[in-house]
């Protein structure tokens, strides 16, 4: 019966197949035009520059190295090996650290305590798009000789770098995994308890396996995020912890060695593809099907009720702090992590934003300077920049969700055509790439390609849409990472049931997939919007006079050579952070309803 239906839908020509193909072409074309062609153009430009140009743009001028010699030379150099080493270490440390610290946070936020955690959720997600220059400065000040944590003597070690990476990502991890956790039907855990399992056993045998796809998915995202960290590495790591991202910046921007940069960009892409390949091997979405029961009212219902059996600790003992009692003290843990990782650096920024070095006192003047463009000398008022940023992020967020959901839906469809299957498989990988490659490569690639995109006589560099497009490339991977595990965990038999009842491909999507991923769409829009709001790397290469975004304005203010502008920049960074948390909270609340 089921086979018969599927045959009907995948038979010869039908409007569905045509639309399927069209959609596939559209999403492939988008990536091709705005990502693959620009990056490939920059790389080939670097590797094959003519003699006249290469005198300026080659890291090997004066030698007669062939491309292969250059590859060998770059890859074998100690410098490249060191840079690769630190890239992997930073990526691994960031993602493993975020997962270990973030998993209990996810529990504390989304399972142990309902509703009352709004403030905590906002705080934890606040750093997500914080401008990395400002964050670097915050952690550097904390650990500097005269700083609050200066007594530790850890200045210029790896710890500040790691803490900054965790600052950005623990909230991201907790949020993504937590919102999935909240969706897991209580009945599975209840069944486990009724069979006599302890809370810890239940977590290990029931909950954790259910969460694993999301954990891996989020950890992978953070791996990539930390592997391409730039601002904090530059500020906190200096030369010692330089990674591929900062090396590509150095080769492209500082010394204009486009051939060396191109080889490094290829290495970065290969590294990313390897990571993706390994990730795909270890996660097989289909093995962990369904088991989510979104229609049942889950988390609204007494989520900690099972503790009542063994709760009421009579006296405070160390046993109380054991892992199986985590539900009791999870809020304590949450407070501790938030205080160390989030509140400490944010406070350091706050003191700068509200402090006037001229009068040595508390002041609002840094914020006021942002509102009056004449005083900040940049001729851009923060209000204009904010409105502009919000508009850009809205377009980019919408674009990202439309494309990200479309790609996820396409990937999750069952198809018999080997070519289509192959294409879909690659599509996911290639849509992840922009997230994992250097902003310099993406920005410069767009810059030198989009003056005539695909040979058309339009200068897209001047279009206001170019920034949302660049931002969407970075945001789509997050949408896919949020949506795809959810779609994949929907049992295909539900779709087959719908088909058997006579639903066509669109009705299946409308009545099966979309309702089940509704919350995911809300969450991913929040993320896409926030990522776009905070995106600095690629935007900075494409921002024009009339469309400066908030992060670009903040960066300019911070780098101006005087303290007033710097403080105004820090004040701007705090406004951006507050804005992001507000956006994420709204997305959270809306997706709960």
């Amino acid at each position: 019966m089921a086979t018969k239906c599927r045959r009907r839908n995948s038979g010869k020509f039908s409007i569905y197949n045509a639309l399927f193909a069209l959609t596939l072409i559209a999403v492939t074309g988008y990536l091709l035009a705005f990502f693959i062609v620009p990056v490939a153009h920059l790389i080939t430009f670097g590797l094959t520059a003519s003699d006249a140009t290469s005198a300026v743009t080659s890291g090997f001028s004066g030698t007669d190295y062939s491309i292969i010699d250059k590859f060998a030379h770059v890859i074998m150099s100690n410098r490249t090996i060191r840079v690769l080493f630190w890239t992997v270490i930073e990526a691994l440390a960031g993602c493993v650290g975020s997962a270990i610290i973030g998993l209990p946070v996810a529990y504390a936020l989304y399972k142990a305590n309902n509703k009352r955690n709004t403030l905590m959720k906002a705080l934890l997600i606040a750093p997500f798009t914080a401008p990395s220059v400002a964050v670097g400065i915050a952690f550097k000040s904390l650990f500097a000789k005269n700083g609050w944590l200066g007594f530790l003597g850890l200045d210029s070690t790896f710890l500040p770098v790691l803490m900054a990476l965790l600052f950005f990502n623990v909230g991201l991890f907790a949020r993504q995994v937590g919102s999935k956790w909240a969706e897991i039907g209580l009945e599975y855990e209840e069944a486990s308890y009724s069979l006599g399992a302890s809370p810890f056993q239940t977590f290990r045998k029931v909950t954790f396996p259910l969460l694993l796809p999301q954990i891996l998915s989020s950890a992978f995202l953070i791996f990539v995020f930390c592997g391409t960290a730039f601002g904090v590495i530059m500020t906190l790591g200096g030369e010692k912890f330089a990674n591929l991202e900062s090396e590509i910046y150095f080769q492209t921007v500082s010394v204009l060695h486009l051939d060396t940069a191109a080889i490094l960009a290829i290495l970065q892409i290969l590294l990313m593809l390897t990571a993706l390949f390994l990730f795909n091997r270890f996660t097989n979405y289909n093995q962990t099907s369904i088991l989510t029961a979104p229609s049942t009212p889950t988390r609204a219902q007494k989520p900690t009720h099972y503790n009542s059996q063994n709760s009421r600790p009579k006296k405070i003992s160390l046993k109380f702090l054991s892992i199986s009692h985590f539900p009791h003290w999870s809020q304590l843990y949450l407070l501790l992590i938030t205080a160390i990782l989030i509140i400490l650096p944010l406070t350091s920024l706050l003191t700068r934003a509200f402090y006037s070095p001229a009068t040595n006192s508390f002041t609002f003047s840094n914020f006021l300077a942002l509102i009056q463009p004449r005083d900040n000398k940049l001729n851009v008022s923060i209000i204009d920049a904010t409105i502009n940023s919000l508009q850009t992020a809205l377009i980019s967020g919408t674009l990202s969700v439309i494309i990200g959901v479309t790609v996820s839906l396409l990937i999750s469809r069952r198809t018999r055509s080997k070519t289509v299957k192959f294409l879909l498989n690659k599509l996911e990988i290639f849509y992840m790439l922009p997230f994992g490659i250097s902003a310099v490569t993406l920005g410069f690639g767009m810059l030198i390609t989009l003056n005539h995109p695909l040979g058309l006589p339009v200068d897209l560099r001047l279009s206001p849409l170019i920034i949302p497009i660049a931002q969407s490339l970075v945001a789509i991977p997050i949408v896919i990472r949020t949506i795809l595990p959810r779609i994949m965990s929907i049992d295909h038999s539900i779709r087959e049931a719908a088909e058997n009842l006579g639903a066509n491909a669109f009705q299946v999507i409308k009545s099966v997939d979309l309702p089940l991923i509704r919350r995911g769409i809300g969450v991913s829009f929040g993320f896409a919007f926030a990522v776009s709001l905070g995106e600095f790397g690629a935007t900075s290469f494409l921002a024009r006079a009339g469309n400066q975004t908030l992060p670009v304005l903040i960066y300019r203010l911070i780098s101006l050579p005087d303290t007033e502008h710097f403080s105004a920049g820090i004040a701007g960074a705090l406004i951006l952070i507050a804005l992001t948390s507000a956006v994420m909270l709204v997305a959270e609340i809306m997706s709960n309803e």
Binding site: T252, K377, L462, S463, R544, G546
Partner: protein, 352 residues
């Protein structure tokens, strides 16, 4: 079901429409030849009044695009040589002049009579690069700190490398920062292509702090402005004017003239500019006293125009260092040919 298809199609076509309309609209705008687009580094500042004045005097509406720091700006200009993002570029520093010229990113400028320029400024060395302002990168010192301490103010690069000074000194990473690079080139100039490594090794052994950017050093490490632990930092000759104590009318900092190095910044007309005539007209305006007068207060640099003024208190707090200290023996060509190699070596030296 059909409804859903149609809706999806409608949404897609609306998006496509918006995309193409806005792309075309803007392409049209940029061709309009009453506009001039100026590409500048991030710290370029121009007031609305000056923009209005340019409009009334030259007839061109000025658009400013900021393109990162001086290094990023130069890279962007070189990469888009022949297909520029704008008509005019402002802020090419001495280090990049050779590369910009070799990449044929600029057209010869074509402006009327030059205003009277300061004697130190060489306007004739290139037909493409016009000097527009200049400044000095100098080591700055915390006056109070050295008044209270046993240590005397250091008065040479040699002194700075002595352990007691090196441990109190913040230099800036030359691979990421333009003042950092200027100071680095100064040390190469002073100690020679073979001697600079020893100098930096001495600094390193003494415990010099390397900040990744000027702001980083000024706002975290420097004792004068950040309450940091370092009373010496690589900064500008004009920085002491930013830390004047109102009560005593004295600056808390002083620039050490022996450590200064000169930086000239250039503007030029981009080759392939959509509005070359306009670009030349605006370039001419940028050399006139009206704009040159604003360079000191807006950009902390010195104007090239001999009749232009700098803020009144600069005479006291930010005097130009004696040219005997700032002249270099290295030719621009030597620097341009070698600095990428030097930077990589510097880089290795910091890690090794």
């Amino acid at each position: 079901m059909k409804k859903l298809c149609y809706r999806a199609l409608a949404v897609c076509s609306v998006f496509a429409l918006i995309l193409s309309v806005s792309a075309c609209q803007n392409a049209d705008n940029s061709i309009a030849n009453d506009q001039v687009t100026l590409l500048a580094y991030d710290s370029f500042q121009i007031s609305d009044e000056t923009i209005a004045q340019i409009k009334s005097e030259t007839g061109y509406a000025l658009n400013v695009i900021t393109a990162g720091n001086a290094g990023e700006l130069a890279s962007r200009v070189i990469l888009s040589a022949g297909e520029p993002e704008g008509d005019l570029v402002y802020g090419i520093d001495s280090l990049n002049t050779e590369k910009i010229t070799a990449a044929s990113a600029l057209a010869d400028y074509n402006i009327g009579a030059l205003p009277k320029l300061k004697s130190a400024v060489d306007a004739g060395f290139s037909k493409q690069l016009m000097p527009v302002d200049y400044g000095f990168v100098c080591v700055n010192a915390d006056k109070q700190y050295f008044a209270d301490s046993e240590l005397a103010l250091p008065d040479s690069l040699d002194k700075l490398a002595e352990p007691e000074y090196a441990a109190r000194f913040v230099a800036i990473n030359p691979t990421t920062s333009s003042p950092g690079r200027a100071f680095f080139i100064k040390t190469v100039d002073k100690y020679g292509e073979n001697g600079w490594k020893d100098y930096w090794l001495k600094l390193k052994a003494g415990g010099v702090r390397i900040a990744s950017s000027w702001s980083d050093a000024y706002e975290v490490d420097y004792s004068v402005t950040a309450g940091g632990a370092y009373p010496l930092m690589v900064s500008y000759s004009t920085s002491p004017a930013d830390t004047v104590d109102d009560a005593t009318n004295q600056s808390k900092a002083v620039a050490i003239p022996e450590t200064c190095t000169a930086q000239t910044e250039y503007a030029g007309v981009l080759k392939g500019a959509k509005n070359e005539t306009g670009a030349n007209k605006v370039l001419e305006f940028l050399l006139q006293t009206d704009f040159q007068n604003s360079i000191g207060s807006e950009m902390y640099m010195y104007p090239v125009n001999a009749d232009a003024n700098v803020p009144a208190d600069w005479e006291k707090f930010a005097p130009e260092p004696d040219s005997e200290y700032t002249k270099t023996n290295l030719s621009t060509k030597t620097v341009s040919d070698n600095y990428d190699k030097w930077l990589e070596e510097w880089n290795e030296l910091q890690i090794g």
